[in-house]
């Protein structure tokens, strides 16, 4: 397989970095490092047999996802993550303990053992709990926005969700984005064009040159970025978030990158050609992000090293707490699927 070129629409440059600012870049890189550290630990725990169910990582997508999480307003926006959005979750305010509790089966996690791992969410904190059916969150976020419109509280709010290239083949994605466009909702959708949907290459997934072509078809604003660059991610996603927030309707951001892990930790990703891994698409956004900050003078290598150490401590603590906690007790479970007594 030949390595595709990245159509870099927004490239890393000092001028675009200046519009982002030092603080946002530093915060985003810290979130990316924290996410990578957590996920590395989860992968180890999985291999050690400590995790029930699958482990799905966002390795290589931290800049794309984390930038969105950092650009959203934690106090009012909506963020519906998918399976490779640990960085976005952390950046949007999800505590590490939610992740470790859910993966390690603690009854104190947000899903109480009733659902696992990446399905976790806290809808009351504007973080919907994803289901496995790709694309199905697009319309849910649209509904959360329409509710706010009816309640008179939509002004200034953005709803965001993430999918991969494979999810853009689903009916749910199409129906949801079309609906959001018809309603001119402030929705931002990130499409991680990460070259594979599980093992299926993008050539077997869609026939358009770029997934960005789809945005025009829906009447949706769009931008395509090099998602291996932190500056590109922050610049491009900021443009989209600002456009949505200021009333320009849904915005799609297509991020070109390579998934740097298997579909899940059960998958070694052996179908990914070495040429692709060695291409620009295969650049590790975390390592590249460190270089970007250092070159811009926004952080020193020593500072970044201290962030890494801090992240390791935070992850250790979150894992240690969750490991001490009990799992759910089937004899204390109420086994109720509806909230109203007598309705089952």
């Amino acid at each position: 397989m030949s390595a595709p070129q990245i159509p870099v629409i927004l490239s890393s440059s000092p001028s675009s970095a200046a519009t982002i600012g030092r603080d946002l870049m530093r915060r985003t890189l810290r979130m990316m490092i924290l996410s990578r550290t957590l996920e590395s630990k989860l992968a180890s725990l999985y291999k050690a047999g400590k995790i029930v169910g699958g482990v799905y990582l966002g390795t290589g997508q931290e800049a794309f996802s984390g930038s969105l999480g950092c650009l959203l307003d934690q106090d009012r926006d909506i963020f519906a993550p998918l399976i490779r959005d640990q960085a976005g979750r952390t950046a949007f305010g999800e505590e590490l303990i939610d992740a470790t509790r859910t993966h390690l089966g603690s009854a104190q996690g947000p899903m109480r053992g009733r659902d696992g791992n990446i399905h976790r969410g806290r809808p009351s904190e504007r973080r919907p709990a994803m289901i496995s059916h790709l694309g199905s969150a697009v319309s849910v976020v649209a509904g959360m926005l329409i509710a706010r419109r009816m309640q008179g509280s939509l002004t200034g709010v953005v709803g965001a969700t993430c999918v991969g290239d494979g999810a853009t083949s689903t009916g749910a994605f199409h129906e949801g984005l079309n609906l959001a466009a018809v309603e001119k909702l402030p929705l931002v959708i990130l499409v991680a064009d990460n070259q594979f949907a599980y093992s299926t290459p993008r050539e077997r997934q869609f026939a358009c040159n770029s997934l960005l072509d789809r945005a025009a078809g829906y009447g949706v604003g769009g931008i395509e970025i090099d998602a291996t660059s932190l500056v590109s991610c922050l610049t491009g996603i900021q443009t989209a978030v600002n456009a949505a927030r200021s009333g320009n309707g849904p915005q799609m951001v297509v991020g070109r990158l390579l998934r740097l892990c298997g579909h899940g930790e059960h998958d070694d990703g052996s179908y990914v050609a070495p040429e692709l891994k060695n291409s620009l698409l295969g650049r590790d956004c975390v390592e590249n992000g460190k270089v970007e900050l250092i070159e811009l003078g926004y952080a020193t290598a020593a500072e970044i090293e201290s962030w890494q150490e801090e992240a390791s401590e935070q992850v250790q603590e979150a894992v240690a707490i969750a490991q001490k906690e009990n799992g759910p007790d089937p004899y204390c479970e109420d086994w109720r699927a509806v909230s109203t007594p007598g309705m089952q």
Partner: protein
């Protein structure tokens, strides 16, 4: 002045819109057009912000309503035909149906399903869906058989904090009339004795209640007194009322318009056998539609679903055991 079944459905939605600011309606052609069956006629004029036309996107319609429901609203989604809800199946059973169990946050969503057959409607505009959705956890499934229930059960559905599949029968829309909507009687979850009797019990719901009563009327001239139980909601299923009736009659016919494999009638028979075996004087019987797609031609359609004649025949088999 009479009120039809569909008038009651329209009136319930109008009253809900007037009484509560968190209620809104979403569906195809429900705005200025008033819906394919006119269940929302004139409602957008009074509530332009809360009666919205949707794209032809059943999956997204329900997904959107779920998002709104977990954000403080009480949406009513109109499926143009219950058959089309197959496109929304994932959002209904996997998103709405699992949400409370998974997250502790209920989804106060009502999906109105114009279901059941009418002559000439064919395989894709006639289906019953109550067994399909009743199978999945987390959903309440209602199937009103009369004008009063169409009104009061719809209001109860919308005020319930959980997702409700509201199966309204198209055949009853304009055919079924009442002098008035009337006061609320039984609560959601309670079955009703539609016709008292002592020789056999027919347990049914929706439009088949009327076919069962016709069958019972025709057997009355021969001295048979058939009791007809209208379930009103198939989930929850009021087994107490069913068992009490079987205890009186000793004989059970479970009747439904849905396809015969599994479903509500199988559930009723299974539960009665398990919990009231000693009450039965004869093997319980089931009568459903035939196990083929629903035919288009009125003559075929009329033989596909149970009729008063086929119900009488089945009841004779039950009574003669």
């Amino acid at each position: 002045m009479s009120v039809t079944y569909i008038d009651a459905i329209r009136q319930a939605q109008l009253d809900l819109l007037r009484e509560r600011e968190d209620v809104f309606l979403y569906g195809q052609d429900i705005g200025a057009f008033g819906g394919a069956f006119k269940a929302t006629k004139g409602l957008q004029e009074e509530f332009p912000e809360r009666v919205l036309d949707s794209p032809i996107s059943e999956d997204a319609m329900v997904g959107m309503a779920i998002g709104a429901a977990i954000s403080g609203m009480r949406p009513i989604v109109e499926m143009q035909f219950a058959d089309f809800s197959s496109v929304a199946f994932n959002q209904i059973v996997n998103q709405a149906g699992t949400h409370f169990y998974r997250t502790g946050i209920p989804v106060p969503l009502t999906v109105r399903m114009p279901c059941g057959g009418t002559p000439g409607s064919g395989p894709f505009h006639s289906q019953m869906v109550e067994a399909l959705y009743g199978h999945y956890p987390g959903l309440v499934v209602i199937a009103p058989a009369n004008v009063s229930d169409a009104y009061h059960l719809l209001k109860e559905a919308v005020l319930l904090d959980d997702p409700v599949i509201f199966c309204e029968h198209k055949f009853l829309y304009r055919w079924l009339k009442s002098d008035e909507i009337g006061e609320p009687g039984l609560s959601l979850g309670q079955a009703r004795i539609a016709r008292p009797g002592k020789h056999a019990t027919v347990v049914t719901y929706s439009a088949m209640v009327h076919e069962a009563v016709r069958a019972a009327d025709s057997l009355a001239s021969e001295g048979w007194e058939i009791e007809v139980v209208d379930l009103r909601s198939v989930k929850p299923l009021d087994l107490d009322t069913v068992i009490a009736s079987v205890a009186r009659t000793g004989r059970l016919l479970a009747l439904g318009e849905a396809f015969p494999w599994g479903g509500v009638t199988a559930e009723v028979v299974s539960r009665v056998v398990a919990e009231g075996f000693h009450l039965l004087d004869a093997p319980p019987l089931r009568l459903n539609a035939k196990d083929t797609p629903i035919p288009y031609h009125p003559d075929l359609w009329a033989s596909h679903r149970p009729t008063p004649e086929s119900i009488v025949e089945k009841l004779r088999e039950l009574l003669n055991f």
